[in-house]
Subunit: 398 residues, 2 copies
Amino acid sequence: MKIIKADYILTCDDDFSIIKNGAMVFDEDVIEVGLADYLTQKYSDLEIIECGENSVVMPGLINSHTHLEYSKNKTLLKYGDFNSWLKSVFENREELSNISDKEIQNQLEIIKQTGTTTLSEISSFAKSLKECVKSDLRIVYFTEILGTNEKYIDFIKEDFNKKLEVSLSYKSAKFIPAISIHSTYSVHPILMEYATTKAKEHNMLMSTHYLESIYEKQWLQRATSKLKETLSIVNPDIKVFFSEEKFVKCFDDIRTSFVHACYDENIEDKYIVHCPVSNRLLGSKKLDISKVKTNLLLGTDGLSSNISLSLWDEMRMALMVHSEYDLQELSKKLILSATKNAGEFLKLPIGVLEKKYKSDFIVLDLEDKLNLKENLDKLILNTKKVKKSFIAGEELSL
Amino acid sequence: MKIIKADYILTCDDDFSIIKNGAMVFDEDVIEVGLADYLTQKYSDLEIIECGENSVVMPGLINSHTHLEYSKNKTLLKYGDFNSWLKSVFENREELSNISDKEIQNQLEIIKQTGTTTLSEISSFAKSLKECVKSDLRIVYFTEILGTNEKYIDFIKEDFNKKLEVSLSYKSAKFIPAISIHSTYSVHPILMEYATTKAKEHNMLMSTHYLESIYEKQWLQRATSKLKETLSIVNPDIKVFFSEEKFVKCFDDIRTSFVHACYDENIEDKYIVHCPVSNRLLGSKKLDISKVKTNLLLGTDGLSSNISLSLWDEMRMALMVHSEYDLQELSKKLILSATKNAGEFLKLPIGVLEKKYKSDFIVLDLEDKLNLKENLDKLILNTKKVKKSFIAGEELSL
């Protein structure tokens, strides 16, 4: 058991308590959070970690949507319009998928150094598995199912199941297998049924891309859209499989995050993963985040539609994308979307610094004096790398 | 005379020509721009600078609004609302102004390394003069006039004139004195008259902050606004000096840039310096850039309301702020606002790579293969530091 002292403890608890001259007693779990003076007296025999001047201790960040396997992209993919982008993904799939372990490892390092402690990684072709298993980050690993062609259903099932079984064999407190449905337009109902059954069987979380583009919306509503032409490259007999309602209903009784949801009119009652940079680069409508409260989660998406997997970069960009939003309120909302809300979605005791939560936390340096409560934006504006990072009470090497 | 070869020459000329496998023959001025094969034959005896794979040569960037003297701010100033911010500037003026030459020099280094070759620096208290004179960047140095209290008019005139005379004594091709009027609410008409007369006398450019906040708009229209209370801290007898029309009319016959102009309804016919990050952080309305064409200039503003003085950072943020704008079109618009348009405003032959322009240019590395014409966004998204930078044909040490 140790005690860590900082100028501020940003707890992300229900009251969004910020404790000035605070401290936290922790081992694998958080034991107690409070004033440094009080806690250092109460636990007078503990080793003290001093974070120094202008320091902040806060929950480790939770990135609710990444595609590490697409980390190779820098200039390959076409930005500006979802449909053109998707075409460019098809055209460059081979080059993109030719990614080395080293490249994935590099991104995991950046993710760690920028204060993310938990990652929801979507794996399309199991290329990120090895590095995710090796990583000292907490990783929720979503094996993705994808396929529309009836001819290949059995093959896809088998392939998916094999990948899922491998991921299940690594299951631990820090590696949590889960399942992803690629999207409304790319998964056959038989595969949907197969995957959701598996999820229920193993009590796994699910995630799905959902109403990311206007083309997807049109496709579901009218069975015609620019998207059809693009999807026909892969399956000339492509057809509409779901209505919005029917699709969402498939996830009844399964804890599921809906990624993007820019064109969803019912975002109030789902867990929504917001990826503001990705949405902007692919020409999607800005998500109306005023409608999404504690169900708002934040993701960077992959480097296939972003320039950074740092959640601080993402939050900085989000402050710009949602420029009509009050700066302080938005800062708080973003911080919660990357901590408390995400922990709740994952049903894991993380994202809050409070008794009984896991000791997943980071130490930041504000660089100068600051009334943090009134200047949350500064945390987002100025943080690049973190000073320290802990998972389950263990300090990571940064 | 030398010849520089690159995968792309982005000329920023009237046709926005992008020359693949291009080259540029230059000394202090641009001699000729064209295909590398043609130019290396035509000028077969010249030294060739090879920029290598995935390289781009383009005009050096022009930052149309900085306050280097406010580089000390990291967390001192309150963001989110212009009026609260202004109060915090008053409260921290002493600490802010206590800036060392070294700190200004550091920012000038960053500006240089990120590809800016010309800077419009607003000097409120002549603290940036020494470093700007020493700098190898091209600097338009705006001595600012500011004061509302009639009692001090003579003192302010004298002080302003002294600073202006010093700046004029350094006048050169790379150090161009100019004059700034602080704003509609902070400059007495007598001082306005004095400064504009000086500008005409020396044929100098001018710049002014203009309609940056809703408070300023209200103040000019109704002589009542939250701003009044804040301004009263400095001058308890503060009153409205100008209507919008009267203020703008003061600059008749003087080439003037209007900085921010978020609440100006007549932005079509002025040179507008857009500072998107600053506007966002101070809670101003987003500028309607669709109304501003070749008169759009780009500025970072100071670190008093930004986190970076890199124009690439500013352009990246601008892509997010104006997320409703087509990504490719906006990328082009931003690049022109930081090159050609700004050169035109300054009446300097810079910002374009074409015969008779000065050889102010930068070399970038795209990091991967790319059809630049269709992917201008990638230039903005991926560029952090530049590979090389030249002013009047001389390579800068980066």
